[in-house]
């Protein structure tokens, strides 16, 4: 029995953030049912589309982030089909000339990098939302016309793990660019999956099956695994895979037949005549590039190569743009990147995790953060004190610098420390004897000093002076 290699391609639909809809001036955002709509969104007779420049700008950003070739002249097409969630009876999309083609992203799977090639990314409009009840259906047009960017990968992934890594990378691109909130639970990101199985000893891709409209990454993983298994079982029992479209039955955890190849819809695509071609100028692209933040992948490279941060910490820091921005803000005040990373990854994230908090709940200005780190690197506070300061500040939501000042009110004067050490020596002649007899008493003496001063002496400095004084004995 031969084994099979699965091949997976994904079509990801992501709602873009913008003030207004893709082709009308009504609001793109939350609102009570059927409140964000205009005559254009309902497709009343005589309406015309007007392209949303902001949606185009965001799409271009994403296309650039996906390393795509950018279309020279922007144009749109109509995809014609009848369904009540499509008020005009056609969707305005980009069929002939997608905004970006032939791109790629680098994903990370179990610590190694893979290149996922992108067939194209194109701008279109979302449909209305429908609820089908027993004897009637409800339509909410708020969603109708929201700009939607569809990114089509090549069939080049071979496991659910890769697919998920790709989706996470893609989502992060949207988040980094602030092009979308990309919340799957809000339906802002939706995925069509195609899966085919190829015999290991054959050189040809198998017949592809498409599974439509999956709303969460966890389900994507499930669907891929379930579908691979289904196809494998068919092939192993000598059956044949039919080219078809399926949907996922979440209750029974299986994919279900929707329509076969012969029932494929002819969408009768043709050029949208109401939108003239729009030339995408080099200046426009230049300006967009200038406005684009450094993305996850590039930041990660920089952290590793320039800052000497470990791969895993760099990955953690860049996984969330807010965190990465915070980190960069802090080091911009002159902190050591590696120390900063250690504190954030090694301590802060653990704290947040333990307390079930997000990065946005941290109320510490990056400048204050950097000042506290500097106190530690200057030896004014110990590592333990630093953690205590952070914990106290976060627990009690108090200004960290004030807490640090109180803690940092420590004895750092060399002369003063030397005198304290001498006093301790005088009070504990027995221990000095032990020392002279070769016993290691340094730690014990440190403890005595701390006790005497209620922990107020600067530990590293005290350690140093103590060594000197012991040497003198």
């Amino acid at each position: 029995m031969s084994s099979y290699i699965p091949t997976i391609g994904l079509e990801v639909h992501c709602e873009l953030k913008s003030n207004s809809k893709n082709f009308s001036s009504s609001k793109n955002g939350e609102g009570v049912v059927n409140s964000n709509l205009s005559v254009v969104d309902i497709g009343y007779p005589g309406i015309l589309p007007v392209v949303n420049k902001e949606a185009v700008r965001k799409s271009l950003m994403v296309a650039l982030a996906l390393n795509c070739e950018i279309v020279e002249k922007l144009s749109f097409d109509r995809k014609n089909y009848y369904y009540p969630d499509l008020p005009k009876g056609y969707q305005i999309t980009q069929f002939a000339n997608p905004i970006g083609i032939n791109g790629y992203v680098i994903i990370n799977v179990d610590g190694s990098e893979r290149k996922i090639t992108i067939h194209d990314t194109h701008l279109e409009e979302d449909t209305a939302n429908m609820d089908h009840l027993e004897t009637y259906s409800l339509i909410d047009y708020n969603r109708a016309g929201i700009p939607l960017l569809e990114t089509v990968s090549d069939p080049c992934m071979h496991s659910s793990k890769e697919a998920i890594a790709y989706l996470e990378t893609l989502r992060n691109i949207f988040l980094y660019l602030d092009a979308s909130d990309a919340k799957a639970d809000m339906g802002q990101i939706r995925v069509d999956i195609n899966v085919s199985l190829q015999r290991e000893d054959e050189n040809k891709l198998g017949t592809r099956v498409e599974i439509k409209n999956i709303n969460s990454f966890a389900t994507v993983k499930e669907v891929i695994e379930v579908e691979i298994k289904r196809q494998q079982e068919i092939l192993e029992s000598g059956g044949k895979i039919e080219q078809e479209t399926r949907r996922y039955d979440e209750v029974n955890k299986k994919t279900v037949f929707m329509r076969g190849k012969v029932d494929a819809i002819d969408y009768k695509y043709y050029r949208e005549p109401n939108i003239p071609e729009i030339k995408i100028t080099e200046e426009f692209i230049k300006k967009i590039k200038k406005d684009m933040p450094t993305l996850e992948y590039e930041r990660k490279r920089k952290y590793i190569n320039d800052y000497g941060i470990s791969f895993i910490d760099a990955a953690t820091l860049t996984k969330d743009k807010k965190l990465s921005d915070y980190f960069e803000d802090i080091i911009s005040y002159g902190c050591q990147p590696k120390d900063t990373s250690n504190i954030i990854v090694g301590f802060l994230l653990g704290y947040l995790n333990k307390n079930d908090k997000g990065i946005s709940s941290i109320n510490i200005a990056s400048k204050d953060f950097s000042d506290v780190i500097k106190m530690m690197t200057d030896g004014k506070i110990s590592n333990k004190q630093l953690k205590d300061i952070f914990t106290k500040s976060l627990d009690e939501d108090k200004n960290i610098l004030e807490i640090a000042k109180m803690t940092g009110n420590q004895i750092s004067d060399r002369k003063q420390i030397r005198e304290i050490i001498k006093e301790v020596f005088n009070d504990n002649s027995k221990i000095i004897e032990d020392y002279k007899n070769g016993k290691n008493v340094k730690g014990f003496i440190m403890g005595l000093i701390m006790k005497k001063t209620a922990g107020k002496v600067n530990p590293s400095l005290t350690n140093e002076i103590l060594a000197e004084e012991l040497e003198k004995l």
């Binding site: 497709g43 009343y44 007779p45 309406i47 015309l48 109509r78 009768k268 109401n274 003239p276």
Partner: protein
């Protein structure tokens, strides 16, 4: 008074002989009087709206084709599927006329959804020709042409996708103007074929067309295909000398061997007309045009317009608006609504449009039709390098009798029956003005010019109108 030209009405208004209420009443009374015989209107307004704007059109009544969106006023496109549809918004052209103080008095009958050239496919019945009730006025802007010809209003607004303003204008003895594509916003015009659709004007003189055009033209943020206005005030340019302007006509269209006495008379009239052009100092030359291209105009037009129409009218499902017919499922509702809502002729065009857009036919039919369009437009643009305009008989026949079926391809293909589409293919400004009579029916000459050069076309037409002597033509019945 509503049968007069705008200048005259304006001065009567300004010197207080009449007021806008009287004018409105006069128009409405006439409209009602003629309604049974001619069926110009789908809706005649009962009450005059307050006019607020200010322009030469202030207080002057006019009519809009019933495929132009008017907030709160029934707009049916003369189709059963929209027979109770009351729009929620104003078309830009209506808004501009309102802001200019013009007074809407009615919505005019058209061929269902503006598809058709006869004025016989309206859901409320046929529209008749004021010059002979046994004859068609032509369409699709049937009512808009007839109400101006009858002197009900001094001007009206129509739409033109193939020849839907210029043909009924020719049959009805009025001036019909289709401007450059994008010159007048299409926002609010019910789309038939978006790449060919134009909003335009009917009036009884070129000057009156200019008055209206100066109000309705201009860029509109709501229509991305609308043009930025760089071409001045038309009315200021219509009296310039046209001496030295060069026109051409298409040899293959005129040089025909036909037994039809009517056609011969029309061509005689045309020859007289070009003589008048020459008297004005214009140069008129005969130019040869590829005959196969000319013969491909109609099939190419049908492919493109039906394809776009199928898509444009896919919104008419009865779901969010329109006359819904109940069904056992959502699909069933849409199917029944459309089955009941459209006439056979419309369905035939939708089937055709759907067919040419199908994946397996698109290349051969839809895209090739687009290539034919491009070849014709390229040829025209090349000719426009040497010539200021194309002059042709508007159409090779007088208004036909009602028994003639004109929505089928006839055996005899008349270039003169289809050349007006060239204006839509290229978005060229194109005007038809009365040039005389044949068998007691009006005939008409058409001038088509370079895209964006509306001012020049209107200038030539005005000077020609002056020497032809049919300015202000009205057919008022007893």
């Amino acid at each position: 008074m509503t049968n007069k030209l705008i200048d005259e009405i304006r001065s009567s208004l300004d010197n207080g002989e009449i007021d806008s209420h009287m004018l409105f009443e006069e128009a409405v009374t006439k409209a009602k009087e003629y309604q049974k015989e001619y069926n110009c209107f789908v809706t005649i307004l009962d009450e005059k709206q307050e006019e607020n704007g200010n322009s030469i059109l202030r207080g002057i009544p006019y009519a809009l084709k019933d495929n132009i969106s008017t907030k709160g006023i029934l707009t049916t496109a003369s189709s059963n599927i929209l027979k109770d549809y009351i729009p929620l918004y104003d078309a830009t052209v209506y808004k501009k006329l309102k802001e200019a103080g013009a007074v809407l008095m009615g919505k005019t009958t058209l061929d269902e959804l503006a598809m058709g050239g006869t004025g016989t496919t309206c859901h409320t019945g046929i529209v008749r020709n004021p010059w002979d009730k046994r004859r068609m006025i032509g369409g699709s802007s049937a009512g808009s042409a007839a109400c101006v010809a009858l002197g009900i209003v001094p001007f009206s607004i129509g739409s033109d996708t193939g020849d839907s303003i210029r043909k009924p204008a020719a049959y009805g003895g009025v001036v019909g103007y289709k401007p450059t594509y994008g010159r007048v916003s299409r926002y609010g015009l019910f789309a038939f074929a978006s790449s060919l659709d134009h909003v335009g004007v009917f009036a009884r003189s070129v000057k009156d067309v200019c008055y209206v055009m100066d109000v309705i033209k201009g860029h509109d943020d709501k229509d991305m295909t609308s043009l930025v206005d760089h071409d001045g005030v038309y009315i200021d340019n219509i009296n310039r000398s046209v001496c030295g302007k060069k026109l051409f006509y298409i040899k293959e269209a005129i040089d025909i061997d036909s037994n039809s006495g009517e056609l011969k008379k029309i061509i005689d009239n045309f020859n007289t007309t070009i003589e008048k052009c020459r008297e004005l100092g214009m140069i008129v030359e005969e130019v040869s045009f590829r005959k196969d291209l000319l013969e491909a105009i109609y099939p190419a037009y049908m492919c493109i317009s039906c394809a776009e129409a199928t898509s444009n009218n896919s919104n008419l499902t009865g779901i969010a608006f329109g006359n819904r017919v109940d069904g056992h499922s959502i699909n069933d509702i849409m199917i029944k609504t459309r089955t009941k809502g459209f006439s056979e002729l419309i369905k035939r065009r939708f089937v055709l449009g759907s067919y040419v857009l199908q994946k397996e036919n698109q290349e051969k039919l839809f895209l090739n039709a687009g290539r034919i369009r491009r070849l014709i437009v390229d040829k025209m643009n090349e000719l426009f390098k040497n010539y200021d305009g194309l002059i042709m008989p508007s159409i090779g026949e007088i208004a036909p009798f009602f028994d003639k079926d004109s929505d089928r391809l006839s055996d005899e293909y008349l270039i003169l029956g289809n050349h007006l589409v060239i204006g839509n293919f290229g978005g060229f400004p194109s005007i038809s003005i009365p040039s005389g009579f044949v068998d007691k029916m009006p005939v008409s000459v058409n001038i088509t010019g370079r895209a964006r050069e509306d001012a020049l076309v209107l200038n030539i037409a005005n000077k020609l109108e002056e020497v032809l002597g049919y300015r202000g033509l009205v057919k008022e019945n007893e």
